[in-house]
Symmetry: C2
């Protein structure tokens, strides 16, 4: 027999790589170009599926196609599950249905569902036809739940025990079930006679308790029982809040039907964070794997909206074209007022969107936070009124102009604070995502208010 300690130590030293080494990518590309299948297989042999997926993501699309052609066996179920969605969808598009069906068979039901749901209609049918009856039925049940719900995300492999069993029964049963159990599980769900979850026993707890203790004495209440129709974001929030490792999912009659696990929730949390960040930046659903065309497609709509609001702001300026013609300093300074307002609004907005996502901003404290944002905006407005008043006064040697820009700064920064908190709260009130479109609304407010305040006051005072 080989010495397992030795082997393991080596793997352990090679493994904790945060980034895929550039050398590995270079070697893979070289093997691809040389059509060296054996070399390719050797390069991937020692990689964790997550590292293999990372390496594949670094290849160009042409290289990925070549990889599929030379060594489709590298695209195992676990590697497919680790790929980012766009790359996985592209690669699944060129894999044979039979290969796909074989690759996903050993996966947990949640990963299997994720891969199949991304296939196009024809491919999905072909893959389903290659699967066993049991897998097919399970998949179809999962796919019946809406996208991004707990039902889609749950795995159907879990361990449950009736509350009247004791520790000894449970351990004996698990030893007997052996390989039929999920590959990994951390908690045993305790169910009543009608298979409704009534508690949970961490495996570590079971392990250190005497055989004769009944599960009903050992179990803790379920802090969370998840209904399959809830949004994945809500499920992830519950995991985060209660520090859960796994949670039971029930069907409409309250019977245990699946389980969510924390590693999937970590992915959901990252997905939702990315969505929020992109929504604030005005990008739809982007990925690094995007082509130029899909990048344009995901950004142009928001640029169009921005163009509309920019033209609106220009309309405000056009109202004061006479004033500008008489005093060009107004045109020189007006972008400063708008830019400071936009910046202050974005600051308030980021804090608000984050606080709404983390459920810290609620009905009970929203009045207090609205007031704080208004006050913080006004105070910053006063500070930068002084600074900008001095700058403008010295630059253009015009005291009245200094007073005008100072006043416009206070007005615009106070409005920016208000808009930064009221826009996302308003979107949420109407059931919309508080991050989507909110920065466009906020900068529209700060542009329009900024130009109106500065040019309007300027026209009144200076001409």
């Amino acid at each position: 027999m080989s010495d397992p300690v030795e082997t393991i130590d080596e793997t352990a030293e090679a493994a904790p790589s945060v980034d895929v080494p550039a050398q590995l990518i270079a070697d893979i590309v070289e093997a691809l170009l040389a059509r060296d299948t054996a070399g390719l297989l050797a390069l991937f042999e020692e990689l964790h599926p997550a590292d293999a997926a990372d390496a594949i993501e670094q290849l160009t699309w042409e290289q990925q196609v070549l990889l599929v052609e030379l060594a489709p066996e590298l695209l195992t179920g676990p590697v497919l599950a680790e790929l980012v969605e766009e790359t996985r969808a592209d690669i699944a598009g060129v894999l044979e249905p039979r290969h796909l069906a074989e690759a996903i068979q050993g996966l947990d039901s949640d990963d299997m569902t994720m891969i199949v749901e991304e296939l196009d209609e024809a491919k999905r049918e072909a893959v389903l036809a290659e699967l066993s009856e049991a897998d097919r039925i399970q998949l179809e049940t999962s796919l019946a739940f809406e996208e991004d719900t707990a039902g889609r995300l749950m795995q159907r492999e879990f361990v449950a025990a009736p509350h009247f069993w004791n520790v000894g029964h449970t351990i004996d049963h698990m030893r007997k079930a052996g390989e039929d159990l999920p590959y990994l599980f951390f908690e045993i769900f305790i169910v009543d006679e009608s298979f409704k979850p009534i508690g949970v026993v961490p495996v570590s707890r079971l392990m250190r308790t005497k055989r004769e203790v009944p599960l009903s004495e050992l179990m803790e209440p379920n802090h969370v029982i998840i209904r399959p129709e809830i949004d994945q974001e809500e499920a992830a929030y519950l995991f985060e809040k209660y520090h859960l490792i796994s949670a039971p999912v029930v069907d409409e009659d309250g019977r245990l039907s699946g389980m969510l696990t924390v590693d999937d929730m970590v992915d959901v949390i990252q997905e939702e964070n990315t969505e929020d960040l992109y929504a604030l930046a005005g990008v739809n659903d982007a990925s690094l794997a995007d082509t130029v065309f899909s990048s344009v497609k995901s950004r142009a709509p928001w640029l169009l909206v921005n163009l509309g609001t920019a033209v609106l702001a220009s309309g405000v300026i056009a109202l004061y074209d006479d004033a500008i013609a008489q005093l060009v300093a107004l045109a020189v300074l007006m972008p400063i007022v708008a830019s400071m307002g936009g910046n202050a609004g974005t600051q308030a907005l980021a804090v608000a969107v984050r606080s709404i996502a983390s459920r810290d901003l609620t009905v009970s404290n929203s009045m207090r936070v609205i007031w704080r944002e208004f006050a913080a905006g006004a105070v910053n407005g006063l500070i930068f009124a002084v600074v900008m008043g001095l700058v403008a006064g010295l630059w253009f040697q015009n005291a009245a102009l200094a007073w005008v820009i100072a006043a416009a700064m206070v007005i615009n920064l106070a409005c920016a604070g208000l808009a930064g908190i009221l826009v996302p709260l308003g979107l949420k009130r109407f059931g919309a995502d508080p991050a989507v479109a909110s920065s466009v609304f906020v900068t529209t407010v700060t542009d329009v208010v900024g130009f109106f305040a500065f040019l309007g006051l300027g026209a009144m005072v200076l001409l």
Copy 2:
């Protein structure tokens, strides 16, 4: 004996609350104002520590002080551990050192460290003096690691077994150790003779394996062994990538000294996501619990930087004041070019920052992504050149002006795409956080390029 099933079912139904009910907060405030300690204790009695913490966070500072005065016993260790940092620091400031020391004694070492590290010098000394010698030494060891490192975050309670034990030994040992084991654990770390981690056995695996199987046969290699000095963000990334539940932390000699767990990593992930979002929005370290003063303090520095860049952009406009005086339409339209560039730059920036954070953007693919961002910017520039050319031409009945704004749009959006990717990559290259300050740099580029291109071309072509 009571019927545990009944009790548990009730709790389970009451518990999965995403938000703290507004009614509960109202009741708590009422009890506080009436100085009704018994009522207060009753309201908190059934709450999970996470819900109790959420409720406390919804109170005003005056109400929180009153709560500490009336019922300090509500601030148990677990409740303190669940509070957001700012609220916890404020409340710890008004709690007696003796109470704090008692409250944290039962906590895992990572939570204990988190609470103590936030105390001011004097309070920390007083609390340390109240702790047992063992706790104090452990705390001081943890505090010796730098903030935001794996060493600070690890807990010192874990379960390890020598590789030459078999399943039976291990289970018997754990039964005997009983209450001395950590409250929850999911994996057993396997160590060699010098206590170096060489593998891991999930508890569920141990449970379903025959007693005589040696651990060395059962264990899987450690994909990840964490050194205590690495940044918490890197540790969290490893958890995310390899779907870890726990991971061993070693000392400088490679000996097992602690453990990181996934629930703490979820908190780190959220912390880092918030930091990135705030960095992009130009907010330092904000919290919903902030006062007006601290909000101003966390935002004014970035507003000042923004003011500097806005004045710089105004300087560009001032170069063309003659042109503007002759053709005011230039002043009316110029903010559109700048705004579209800023927007396109922010889009590219958000995708880049996210891709760097998720380690998808690397040395191997950065040239490809830079090209894509430039091309996507140029294509969007062409699209909006046509749109804006038409709008400007119709608005001002001036074909030359239409051509000028169209050309400026292409130039600025292509530069925006480039700036959006090159600025964060450049910051990263120089070891800086790619999110911090990057949006200021990008909008400076798009403002300056936008005004130069539009006004410069306008002055050349139109006058």
